[in-house]
């Protein structure tokens, strides 16, 4: 077996907020043409409300540009993906981002900012990790909708039929990935690390309310990294708000518009740096992924997928059409970091979504597991199981010798 998989004992997922692939990583196509981003010479445009074809521009700003928060609830994302077309036979074309944003402020010039993207030099941390490790060309949000239901897919492999922000009930026999691991025999360890109690978790309804022992804070995560005490699976949540704490003034670092994107860069750098200097570095893989696109443009049409076992009611989606969970949401940035991943890896041949997270963790740590959703059953894994059932052609931790050339980050004034 590849030594990287043999040594792998810990998987960490850091899930950021509301930025699309092209917005954050699209500029990297100019550096590595295998990365399916955006070049100024590409033909992709969106019509504005005056009927003009608008091109994406590398003018994204860290804060203060996407106000109001671009709509990313189910009906708005439906417009963004299908260009406003309704009815049978419509075709997804990614032509509705500008018109969707126009509806929020009725300002044609402002609506064009939804097509702005960052230059590589704007995001030195995220783009370096994307170029130095493995970047996924086809990682999509699980649902063309907002945060809560998309994050549910990362925890459960389904949102139990929800496409909105309301609390949801767990429907038997589906269990969270944490419960699966902790109840296994022999028991595995798993933890959700929220930033602090003022930011808390976005999975309140079931996990925080009923299983408080599965939670830790971000300072505990950093300490667990340093001491080599990480659980086998860690899920890290960023800080979702500007707030005062016992230690001082905290700044939101989730990168949700209109929070500072550079604060998120600093968070990603800190997580990576602590892992890299942890005694567990040879045994750990880090996935950095965004929960959904936040209403911001991407040029890749989300593919259809096999239906889920749960379906939304006719009212829930807000489109007067039931949703069968048979189409993925808009594409998001996703990067796999490990000293066993070859620099410059671009994963293009498979489609991933957040159901890939519990699917990967379950298959890697537990092997086969009976009670998973249809969507999770069909989800691709980003780390192959090391029990003989994995497809080694897809193994991303493929190096024979661990790298000693992984980048370091340093914050400057």
């Amino acid at each position: 077996m590849p030594p990287g998989l043999d040594q792998l004992q810990h998987i960490v997922v850091l899930m950021m907020e509301n930025r699309s692939f092209d917005h954050m990583l699209g500029s990297l196509k100019a550096v590595n043409p295998a990365i399916d981003g955006y070049l100024a010479s590409d033909p992709f445009t969106n019509p504005d409300n005056n009927g003009n074809a608008v091109k994406p521009q590398a003018l994204a700003e860290f804060q203060g540009q996407l106000d109001p928060d671009p709509d990313h609830h189910f009906p708005a994302v439906d417009i963004q993906i299908f260009g406003g077309a309704t009815g049978a036979g419509r075709v997804a074309n990614m032509q509705g981002f500008v018109s969707s944003y126009f509806h929020q402020r009725e300002d044609v010039n402002h609506s064009q900012k939804i097509l702005y993207y960052f230059r590589q030099s704007d995001l030195p941390v995220l783009t370096t990790l994307a170029l130095q490790f493995a970047v996924f060309n086809r990682w999509f949000a699980s649902i063309p909708g907002p945060t809560i239901c998309n994050r549910a897919f990362a925890h459960y492999g389904t949102s139990f039929g929800r496409v909105d922000m309301n609390p949801f009930d767990i429907i038997a026999p589906i269990k969270s990935i944490y419960t699966r691991l902790i109840n296994a025999s022999p028991a595995r360890s798993a933890k959700v690390y929220y930033y602090d109690t003022s930011s808390s978790s976005m999975e309140v309804a079931n996990l925080l309310q009923n299983q408080t022992e599965q939670f830790g804070t971000y300072p505990q995560f950093l300490s667990d990294c340093d001491k080599g005490l990480l659980p086998q699976y860690s899920f890290v949540e960023p800080n979702f708000s500007d707030h005062d704490s016992d230690d001082g003034e905290e700044v939101a670092n989730d990168q949700h518009p209109d929070h500072d994107v550079q604060a998120g860069e600093a968070l990603i750098a800190e997580v990576y740096t602590h892992l890299k200097h942890s005694p567990l570095w040879p045994n750990t893989a880090l996935l950095i992924v965004y929960d959904e696109h936040g209403g911001i443009f991407d040029h890749v049409v989300p593919p259809s997928c096999p239906k889920d076992s749960f379906q939304s009611s006719q009212i829930d989606p807000g489109t007067n059409q039931p949703f069968q969970f048979d189409r993925l949401g808009v594409r998001v940035p996703a990067i796999l970091v490990s000293p066993w991943v070859k620099a410059g890896t671009v994963v293009s041949d498979r489609v991933f979504d957040h159901a890939s997270i519990p699917a990967t963790i379950t298959k890697f740590f537990l092997g086969s597991y009976p009670n998973v959703s249809q969507r999770e059953q069909n989800a691709a894994v980003f780390i192959e199981p090391n029990n003989g059932s994995g497809n080694m052609a897809n193994n991303l931790l493929s190096l024979d010798v661990m790298r000693n050339d992984c980048p370091d980050f340093q914050m400057t004034e």
């Binding site: 309140v204 408080t212 707030h243 550079q262």
Partner: protein, 129 residues
Amino acid sequence: MIVTFPKPKGVRDPNRPAGSLLLAQVQHLAEAEKGLPPRYQSGIFSHAIQTEGEAAHYIRAVTENIHAAHDDAAAARVRRAPRRRRVIEIAAVADQAAENRFRKKPGPKKSTGKQPAKKKKTTRGKPKS
């Protein structure tokens, strides 16, 4: 390879209006709070929350209360459960029992079926009339 990145220079504003995500989180916590015993209630009116700072204040209160309620319930569960004795403790108890048997401490007399004689009232401590 050392890559530098700038210290964040964004605007920190706890008075920024809370977005739909934070308000949804507040709503979820308000639902969770309904299930808490009265002494763990935050006393904060969640529907009046408008800013990120207010949302964070409420989120912290309810999160800490949920943890406290679970911690207290776990502690009470431990107190209620009969304590399992370790082997050495069981042996110590057996030794103590054997020791007690050899002590010349009069045990309770066997009942003879008669009522025990009533103790005479004493006037000790009482002022003489």
